[in-house]
Subunit: 174 residues, 2 copies
């Protein structure tokens, strides 16, 4: 039956550039754009003082840019893998329709069968997972790739393979 490997791809911080949103909203509010050095190795909610307000703002998820190379990579990966986009979305009810619209806009070649919104990713079954959070990768039984984002900078362990761009993922998985 299932012959393709199942590939689980995260949204925020892997496909959706939430840092752009945080930086832009903070700059709009305070007139200052934080330099990258401030963000490295620190959780988003520690770095952006109003982080909680921003993610609760209408349009935060809907308006996020796609991380460079994400669309083209997903298009190709979708032909080779049994691909699912899995996003932790339950904490913010407003984000549910926004995330679905975002996926339909930027990835029109995928179908709704391939989308999952959950609270905890411990319930997800697959062969390969790409995510920017250890809390998601640590519970996954398949092969795991840690997608570089400022918050996970410098935090490595021997269980996950770090990847820093969609170009790098293409070289590994395609």
């Amino acid at each position: 039956m299932q012959t393709k490997q199942r590939l689980i791809v995260d949204m925020d911080g892997v496909l959706a550039d939430v840092y752009s949103q945080f930086l832009n909203m903070e700059e709009a509010e305070f007139g200052i754009r934080q330099p990258l050095e401030n963000l490295l190795g620190r959780p988003e909610r520690e770095v952006f003082k109003h982080e909680r307000n921003y993610v609760l703002t209408k349009g935060f998820f809907r308006g996020a840019p796609v991380i460079e190379g994400g669309v083209e990579a997903i298009r190709e990966l979708d032909t080779k893998y049994d691909l699912f986009i899995v996003s932790a979305a339950m904490e913010f009810p407003l984000s549910l329709p926004e995330k679905l619209e975002w996926l339909k806009e930027h990835f029109p070649f995928l179908t709704w069968h391939q989308f999952v919104f959950c609270g905890s990713k411990t319930i997800i079954k697959g062969d390969i997972m790409i995510d920017d959070h250890f809390k998601n990768l640590d519970f996954f039984t398949g092969k795991t790739y840690l997608f570089t984002q400022p918050h996970n900078y410098g935090q490595d362990d021997k269980h996950h393979t770090r990847v820093s761009s969609w170009e790098e993922i293409r070289k590994i998985l395609l």
Copy 2:
């Protein structure tokens, strides 16, 4: 680490009484309430001519009654099992916030970590699944219970155990 068995519970047709919604909406539209005999062993979209319109109507999912005994059973099962509510919701974007609000209203003792909205349930990992559709149970690797609903009436196979009420499930699982 994980010692409790993971129990996966469906929403529509297991916790949410969607047939009540269909019957009520049809009666409001045509003035006639279909008798149960009409519904047995036939897909919802075959039985209710305007099924698609109804599920796309604002309030369809939000206003569904809870199937008898569902709240009390889930409250008890939640203490004994690692419980998740998993619903196929992606086909109808409007249903996403409605389903989340419905869960929060009727099951306030659960947390958002326990909710999953997906397109396909083939991605879900667990030990026990309760669902009213073969398409979901057939791909699950754990123990499966088919929850009786009019559409699955008379359709049995040797792979799934039929249960016809939450009272019956309590006797088996508690």
